[in-house]
């Protein structure tokens, strides 16, 4: 029962009830319902394995030295696969980012005034965004065969979806003054967008591009597992018997991702 207080002016107020308990119970109930779908097999859990596998990953296998361990990381096949990962992420991101521009303009409510156009454009974008990249890759393999071609296609389509969303949201926040000025001069829609919208959006667009590239390098590891190119194939081939090689590739990826992240942060800082 909520507490009642009588104030000095005679007003009676009730203390608001504490709702956090109710929320906590709801969250706990949903969590325990979902836990029904996550079977826990206590016998299969082996915490001792944790230390064991870390040792396996980051030390050479028996009969080899750290020299061999690091020689594998910088061996030609591994570096080629790494280059392939970067190349396919970059190419896919570039194609997707370029292709997203027209759809983003069509999705922006302040540029395209007709609801049926921007709603159709957004529906296309939302549909593409629902499909996880790895699912796009599986379908792309079916269409194009194995290799880095479906990888590039998957990354391009995935980037197209998220870039369109981010760019159109940016376009909707721009200053419409220059667009109206060009309209008043008699410029047509295409010219108005080119001279008044793009210059305002460009720095933010480049920032998003780099951000997408960073995400794509990380998520493209999965592509190798399903045969769509990149360094994932080396992980896939060595999982199960050469954990030292898996660990080596993990270290290499870690260094590369940290390197790309620091470049990203530097460039984004410059752009803003």
């Amino acid at each position: 029962m909520a507490k009642m207080y009588t104030l000095s002016n005679g007003k009676v107020v009730t203390e608001p009830g504490n709702k956090s308990i109710i929320y906590l119970v709801i969250v706990l109930a949903i969590t325990s319902f979902f836990m029904l779908f996550i079977p826990i097999d206590w016998k299969a859990i082996n915490f001792r394995n944790a230390g064991f596998i870390l040792g396996q990953l980051f030390t050479p296998t028996s009969g080899q030295t750290y020299r061999d361990y690091f020689a594998f990381i910088v061996s030609t096949p591994v570096l080629n696969a790494l280059l392939e990962t970067i190349r396919l992420s970059f190419g896919g991101t570039l194609i997707g980012a370029l292709a997203s521009v027209p759809l983003a303009v069509l999705s922006a409510r302040n540029i395209v005034k007709k609801p049926w156009i921007y709603q159709t454009a957004r529906a296309i974008m939302n549909f593409i965004r629902t499909i996880p990249m790895f699912v796009i890759a599986v379908v792309a393999i079916f269409f194009l065969g194995y290799g880095i071609l479906p990888g590039i296609a998957a990354i391009a389509i995935f980037t197209f979806g998220i870039m369109t969303k981010m760019v159109y949201e940016t376009i909707e926040t721009i200053d419409m003054g220059p667009v109206e000025a060009l309209d008043a001069c008699g410029a047509n829609k295409v010219k108005a967008v080119g001279y008044a919208v793009f210059p305002q959006v460009l720095p933010i667009y480049l920032g998003y591009f780099i951000y997408c590239f960073e995400i794509n390098v990380r998520s493209s590891v999965i592509l190798g597992f399903i045969g769509a190119g990149g360094i994932g194939i080396i992980l896939y081939n060595n999982v199960g018997y050469r954990y030292d090689r898996v660990g080596g590739v993990i270290l290499l990826l870690f260094v590369v991702v940290v390197f790309i992240q620091s470049i990203t942060r530097y460039v984004r800082g410059k752009l803003q």
């Binding site: 979902f34 079977p39 299969a44 596998i53 190349r87 499909i131 065969g145 071609l149």
Partner: protein
């Protein structure tokens, strides 16, 4: 041609030749050269990224027949697999889509809860206005390291400790999400308004009362909204984990794609798209209520 005065002032006459707009146009750098170079660089990068891709027209010859096969698959989904709830002996069938879809959502949901629980203390360490500058650097480093590992690699490591199945998937999602949730939580704490804390200080509240009445009411809506946002992302991520047998819809997807069994494959794709759309809708409705 005679010069026609455009604007008469006593001291200064602007002619057509000197009109500011035209002068501006003449004086501006030759943009087309930059544009040409930029276009060349972009085309070169795209072409370069396609090296070793064995791209040729014959790769695209299969697109139309494949498309027909795919459409045929979508027209005849494997309904037994798509809707089958129970086994022959009446117990819940754990190999069909309804169960696996719920399992995928469960992996994402419980994973997000686990991540939020661990992200909270790290976020308080990372927030510059709570912890000092040095401690904040430590927190940031932890978060960056966690974020850097792709999910699939975490799953590969965790699967050796927790075995094959959804538990590993849930823990992978949980561990991976700490990185981003911790960062977002820390930003929310940093953007907090200090006014209510000072007000409670002034009336003599103790630390717990300050946390309860000044900090939690401010950050809780933000935290919940970020958690829901991450849950959205995690539902998509949870489909990947099946590739390494860490539960969810990914495992049957990979098996069906190995033999291009389109009736089964299309059922899984339908389930994934429906699942993501429904989760997106629910979470965006909830988030709109929170903010």
């Amino acid at each position: 041609m005679k010069k026609i005065p455009l604007l008469h002032r006593k001291k200064y006459i602007i002619t057509h030749e000197e009109a500011t707009v035209e002068r501006q146009l003449k004086e501006q750098p030759k943009l087309w050269i930059y544009n040409l170079i930029l276009a060349a660089v972009i085309i070169f990068l795209i072409v370069y990224s396609f090296t070793d891709s064995q791209i040729n027209l014959s790769r695209f010859a299969n697109v139309w027949p494949s498309f027909k096969v795919m459409i045929n698959g979508f027209a005849n989904p494997n309904t037994e697999f798509l809707f089958g709830l129970f086994d022959a002996d009446g117990s819940i069938d754990k190999t069909t889509i309804p169960y696996l879809t719920m399992q995928t959502i469960a992996i994402a949901f419980v994973g997000t809860i686990v991540a939020s629980i661990f992200a909270l203390p790290i976020a308080f360490i990372t927030a510059k206005n709570v912890a000092g500058k040095h401690l904040s650097k430590v927190g940031e480093f932890i978060l960056v390291v966690i974020r850097t590992f792709p999910e699939i690699i975490l799953a590969l490591i965790l699967i050796r400790v927790f075995g094959i199945g959804a538990l590993t998937g849930m823990l992978t999602i949980g561990l991976h999400s700490i990185g981003m949730l911790g960062k977002l939580f820390a930003e929310a704490i940093e953007n907090m308004d200090r006014g209510p804390i000072e007000a409670l200080d002034a009336v003599g509240a103790n630390l717990w009362q300050k946390i309860r009445y000044a900090i939690i009411p401010q950050v809780l809506p933000d935290f919940l909204s970020m958690g829901l946002y991450r849950f959205d992302i995690n539902v998509r991520a949870a489909t990947i984990l099946g590739v390494v047998s860490a539960g969810g819809l990914g495992t049957p997807l990979i098996f069906a794609s190995n033999e291009w069994n389109w009736p089964t494959l299309s059922s899984i794709l339908i389930a994934i798209i429906l699942m993501v759309v429904v989760v997106d809708l629910v979470s965006s409705k909830l988030r709109a209520k929170l903010v």
